[in-house]
Amino acid sequence: MPRTLMKGNEAFGEGAIRAGCRHFFGYPITPQSEVPHYLAKRLPECGGVFLQAESETASINMAYGAAAAGARVLTSSSSPGISLMQEGLSYLVGSELPCVVVNVMRGGPGLGNIAPAQADYYQAVKGGGHGDYRVMVLAPASVQEIIELMETAFELADQYRNPVMVLGDGILGQMMEPVDLDGEGISSIPSKPWAVTGTQGRTTRNIVNSMCIVPEENEAANLRLANKYNKIRQNEQRWEEYLVNDAEVILVAFGTLARVVKAVADRARDEGIRAGVIRPVTLWPFPDQAFEKVIKFAAKRFLVVELNLGQMLEDVRLAVNGRRPVHFYGRPGGVVPTVREVMERLKQTSEVTDGGDRI
């Protein structure tokens, strides 16, 4: 397909298809309904399965089944629906199953509204389900990047046998941008000798299960996960830098909000303030390495900007570890700040103290 104008939500679907995914189980919810809307038409065209489940709880468990059978499988929802999926995510991790989950975030808590938000950061990166686990989280900022990161998401999921979440907000899901859909995408997926596909002549059966009754065995299973997570922390940190080399103040934002923040950095430079931007692309593993780098350069202070009350802020503070003041500006509930508003906050930041500010 030549250059095409796509909605973010359509790109989540097309990106999955290009990554070799042929199975989708989901349930409509604003502002991500165009994901199932698109895939309902598109998946049958390429021999895939689209199934509208009766709920998000059912969707994630259907994804568990498809993943156990070795399929590349996608589910998607928006904030309240993702809350319903948390139990299933924990079981997927416990069973070491690869799966990709898209969350197009809206304003919460509770029913909240349908406006863009980033308030599910904690839930995504700290784990909203039970047990000691991690989910890799990718945060695209453009429609083109959705296409690219969907492929990355499926590859990481298979490589580490762990769910991957792709986290966007309502703006990203609904906006339209030109994308490149060169080539045919992935035609084969890695072999999965552990998958439940029949014994195929073997004398032993594959079993996919998260039950581990003996504490010592469960400890060993947890330590196996820990080992996997350490590898992911070392090898999979991704981020984008913008004008950081000489920047005294580093703005930190993820997803579409990073585009507002880049415009702020440009404006700041016009006014003589040397500003730069770190945009974490992986939210877990959090890109600590980006912060080590800019602290060695010129960074004297940080300003974290989020569509929430200060969630990624904690990870930035852990990465900076008290070496520089880390300020915060957040707009919760579905409100997106203007360039001017972030600019005003930037001018109030101090190099002496961060004041422990949250909002």
């Binding site: 397909m1 095409t4 809307h37 030109p178 585009r259 997106v336």
Partner: protein, 232 residues
């Protein structure tokens, strides 16, 4: 707007999700208002809660002669299929010109069906907006299928196709001309006309040079992401 093909009192814009109906309907309504008509722009989009006419209601109504008909109060931002009772007034009042911005695809067009008995016979026209750079309308066959699906859901016949070929910020006049060829073929197979082509304001002259004799509606953009909005 003087040289546009027959403009009826009620103009209905339907099409694929993301075909540009909202921008088109807004600019079409502004054109009518600019020509001195009393215009009601009706937000009939009940499936997509983002990028809707209702979000620029205040701005549009500050321009003379234009009234935006949409749910009132907190329902303005609610994700519910609420329709304003004022819509009936637009059909009934022969002094007013109605421009309807309908939701995308067959699912979004379904809502139009309930208003069919109120459409003034011989004084309404349905426009199907085509952006040939969108994945579901990038071939003649797909356009025809989408037209048929929407006609069935909306219970109206499409009178005109509108060429709104664009690649967002990367649009060039040649792309609009390329899209026009596809729309011409589709229109010929469907047995309907092409009402006009649309292009972003700064491209309209270039497009007109490539499409002599085709009316070109210059588009002022209203639906912008937060980082492209001029300072609020």
């Amino acid at each position: 707007m003087a040289n546009f093909p027959p403009v009826r009192r009620i103009s209905i814009f339907v099409g694929n999700l993301g075909s540009g109906k909202t921008e088109l309907a807004i600019n079409f309504a502004l054109g009518l208002a600019g020509a001195g008509r009393w215009v009601a722009l009706v937000d009939l989009d009940v499936i997509n809660p983002y990028y809707r006419t209702r979000y620029v209601k205040q701005r549009l109504e500050s321009l003379a002669g234009l009234e935006v008909v949409c749910p009132a109060g907190e329902l303005l931002q609610a994700d519910v299929p609420a329709l304003s009772p004022a819509i009936y007034g637009v059909f009934a009042d022969v002094e007013r010109w109605g421009v309807f911005d309908v939701g995308g695809d067959d699912v979004g067009s379904t809502v139009l069906g309930r208003f069919r008995p109120h459409l003034p016979v011989g004084d309404s026209a349905a426009f199907f907006v085509v952006n040939s750079f969108r994945p579901r309308t990038n071939t003649v066959e797909k356009v025809i299928k989408m037209v048929r699906d929407i006609e069935r859901a909306a219970r109206v016949s499409i009178d005109y196709l509108v060429n709104n070929a664009n690649l967002g910020s990367e649009t060039e006049p040649a792309m609009v001309a390329e899209g026009h060829n596809l729309v011409l073929k589709a229109a010929s197979e469907l047995g309907c006309g092409i009402a006009f082509a649309a292009a972003r304001q700064d491209l309209a002259t270039g497009v007109q040079e490539l499409l002599p004799g085709v009316p070109v509606l210059p588009l002022q953009r209203f639906m912008l992401p937060p980082w492209e909005r001029s300072e609020e």
